[in-house]
Amino acid sequence: MTYAVMDECIKYKYKDCIEGCLVGCFYQDEKMIVIKTEECIGCAVCETEYPVDVIKPDTIPDAAKWIAFNHKYIGFWPNISERDDLTADADDRADVPDKMAHLSKNLVQQ
């Protein structure tokens, strides 16, 4: 089993997910975090620790879409294994609508 991050994470980033990860399979740009699904061991600590449902297992109906979405950014974004200070305004970002529009297009093309 693997886990993937969904688009609700964009501009959200509480980062409770990162600290418990044994294999360091999280990668981030300034607005979002993704999981390297090939490295994920499926332990569910990130899903359990995260305050809202933005990380889902590959057993949900449209899992393939989210795994592909996560996979797309691996290799472009740097690995993150510890919290940094980008989480400060996560509360203000929780309910931003239409989040895909906020994903940084320039970073995707690096």
Partner: protein
């Protein structure tokens, strides 16, 4: 070519970022279950109930699998309890380890089956099947568990009677332990089997639904006011037992948001 050269094992370098520890003892319980102990890295800190990644130095890129640490956080060695999976990428080799062999350990422990993730309560239920008893082997040997809860009940359900031996030996040893024994006198072990004859039979979820387990143990049914739960077992067991605890009004918690029960989902298969 001499036979000595043929038998020589290839040497693989230890990957960076992992501990290389030495096996200190191995005990086989059945043809499917064994326990082993290894030296503990001096710098390793973990909380009782957490799990780590274990591998063997038998490839350039060794296979690692998640294992609950079965020993408590104060123990000078690390203990693990493992299933033997035929053709399992790790356990096929791991089951052959002997004293003096090297086991690899990734440096980070993690997990939600810890006392920190539960709100204070009166009675702690540790619900396990098979090798899912391992994190509870750690927690029942930690004095903190008894400081936090007045009563501790460990349930262990297996197919066969012989598979209950690890838990039974452990609980007997805990009560005799000079450090924890004094705290653990009230610890109750409730064993059931699903395939072989035994005084207590059946799945833990059925025994909770019928109320038989509460009658057998002489305790009131689970209530969110007094009872806390920890669950570790197969995926199906986790799903059904989680639903049962939710039926009693308990709510799943985590390190960041402690509540009335927690679930361990990292499980070797």
């Amino acid at each position: 070519m001499s036979s000595a050269i043929l038998e020589e094992k290839p040497e693989f370098t230890i990957p960076t970022g992992v501990f290389a520890e030495t096996v200190t003892s191995v005990h086989h319980y059945t043809d499917r279950l064994f326990e082993f102990r290894i030296t503990r890295p001096a710098s390793l800190r973990f909380r009782s109930g957490e799990f780590m990644m274990i591998g063997l130095p038998n490839a350039e890129k060794p296979v690692f699998r998640a294992y609950s640490v079965a020993s408590p956080s104060w123990d000078e060695e690390l203990e693990f309890y493992s299933i033997k999976v035929p053709n399992g990428p790790l356990t096929e080799h791991l089951q052959k380890i002997k004293e003096g062999d090297t086991v690899l350990l990734r440096k980070k422990p993690t997990g939600t089956l810890v006392n920190d993730a539960l709100l204070p309560g009166k009675r702690l239920w540790m619900l396990s099947t098979g090798t899912g008893i391992a994190p509870f082997a750690s927690l029942i040997r930690d004095p903190e568990t008894y400081e936090k809860f007045d009563e501790v009940i460990l349930t262990h359900t297996c197919r066969e009677v012989a598979e209950l031996a690890y838990g039974q030996k452990l609980v007997a040893a805990v009560k005799d332990d000079p450090l924890v024994g004094e705290f653990a006198q009230g610890l109750k072990l409730y064993c059931t089997t699903t395939r072989e004859d035994y005084p207590f039979r059946g799945r833990i979820t059925d025994l909770m639904a019928s109320g038989k387990i509460f009658d057998d143990l002489g305790v009131p049914p689970i209530s969110s006011e007094t009872d806390r739960g920890m669950i570790c077992g197969s995926m199906e067991m986790l799903r059904d037992t989680k639903a049962a605890l939710e039926g009693f009004g308990l709510v799943e918690g985590s390190n960041s948001r402690p509540n009335t029960f927690v679930v361990e989902r990292a499980f070797v298969d």
